[in-house]
Amino acid sequence: MRKTKLSDPNTNGFIEHDHHKDGIDRRGFLKCMAWAGTGALCVIEGGVLTSRALAFDMGSKTKSHKMGELSFVQISDSHMGFNKPANPDVIATLQAAVDKINALPEQPEFILHTGDISHLSKPSEFDMVDQILKATNKEIFFVPGEHDVLNDDGAMFRERYAKKSRGQGWYSFDKNGAHFIGLVNVMNLKAGGLGTLGSEQLQWMKNDLKHLKHSKPIVVFAHIPLWTVYPQWGWGTDDSAQALSYLKKFGSVTVLNGHIHQTMQKVEGNITFHTAFSTAFPQPAPGQAEGPGPMKVPAEQLRKILGITDVNYVQGRHALAVVDSSLV
């Protein structure tokens, strides 16, 4: 099992090949992730990674879900309203993401959107996203990004997307034996700090998890990464360690985030952390630019670094598969 702390100065929190003798072939892992965009399937089973070609799983288009199986898709960072050179047409790329979802051989049961639905929290931007996502014909669960709560502390977001939520928009639900927790870490941010969950939300989360069996798979989703990706750019959450401490007793925990507009994965003990592509525009790799702003790439490359994330879980196998697919 991985012993490195989230804030390990040796790794800066990235996945990288190291020599911790922790039983995880990190180089092989990265290789697999590099394949993900073109159709490899990465399965993490008890901390050990295996991979197989996506085509292997695509044999039957009519495959129906068996009891205890779970399939869902994560999309993120639609930034509706953004129109700068990094992507002058975020409507088209969100539509392409929807087409991609609708073309999946095994149809997901529902969708998670991990925030930054809009670019400027405007009703017209939310309306446009709603209209485009309607074509998936699926239930969608949202958590807010910082771009969705500008100027009104998230009142409009909650009214539209999280009516039954607690506090500033957090909630939980069960699907096919797995427990899902949507967290809000984009509000009441303090000068100089990172994302924040806050004591009220942490207390709620602790209570929410208290009565669950340790064998129950847990999926936590929030906008800003709940692991320290790159604090210099604000890519982390100040009090995430507290939240993660409540998850230690569970056998299978998957944390899904957005915000950084690129895919990244890390395994830490029982927890797999994953960040999703944006559907709108890419951002630079940590430290690879002066700042974390939208990254302009040649037009023909754009759709190769935008995309969706397909997540599959088979109960009893203690396995969870996370597959990133680019738009083209």
């Binding site: 700068k84 929290s121 604090p231 210099q232 700042g291």
Partner: protein, 118 residues
């Protein structure tokens, strides 16, 4: 204070001109100096430039967002706070009291700056 001294030394140069001209010029000069770029903070590449700006009391400081993403200007002590500024949007605040005003972007809190009012 510094600004005033500079102003008077400027006036010394101007004095040889007729008094009438100076009287007419005075308010115009003062106004254009107050609006000049030293009172502006550029928000660019997720930083405030300059990150510390020193101004005389009663100065109006203007922030302009040159990034492709929105930012806010929020005083750490809640003295002032802008709405989210989209690209090229501006926000101004007049500092009527001497002091040091720390501020940050409430959307990207790693972005911090300071206005020192003397």
């Amino acid at each position: 204070m510094k600004t005033r001294k500079l102003f008077f030394s400027g006036m010394a140069v101007v004095l040889p001109m007729t008094l009438a001209v100076v009287l007419v010029l005075h308010p115009i000069r003062a106004k254009s100096e107050a609006a000049a770029s030293p009172m502006e903070v550029r928000v660019d590449n997720f930083t405030f430039g300059p990150d510390t700006l020193t101004v005389p009391v009663n100065s109006t400081v203007t922030w302009v967002n040159k990034d492709d993403v929105p930012h806010t200007i929020a005083s750490s002590d809640r003295v002032f706070k802008s709405k989210a500024l989209d690209t090229d949007d501006k926000y101004s605040y007049t500092f009527a009291k001497v002091g040091t005003y720390a501020y940050y972007c409430s959307i990207h809190p790693k972005m911090v700056g300071k206005i020192v009012v003397q």
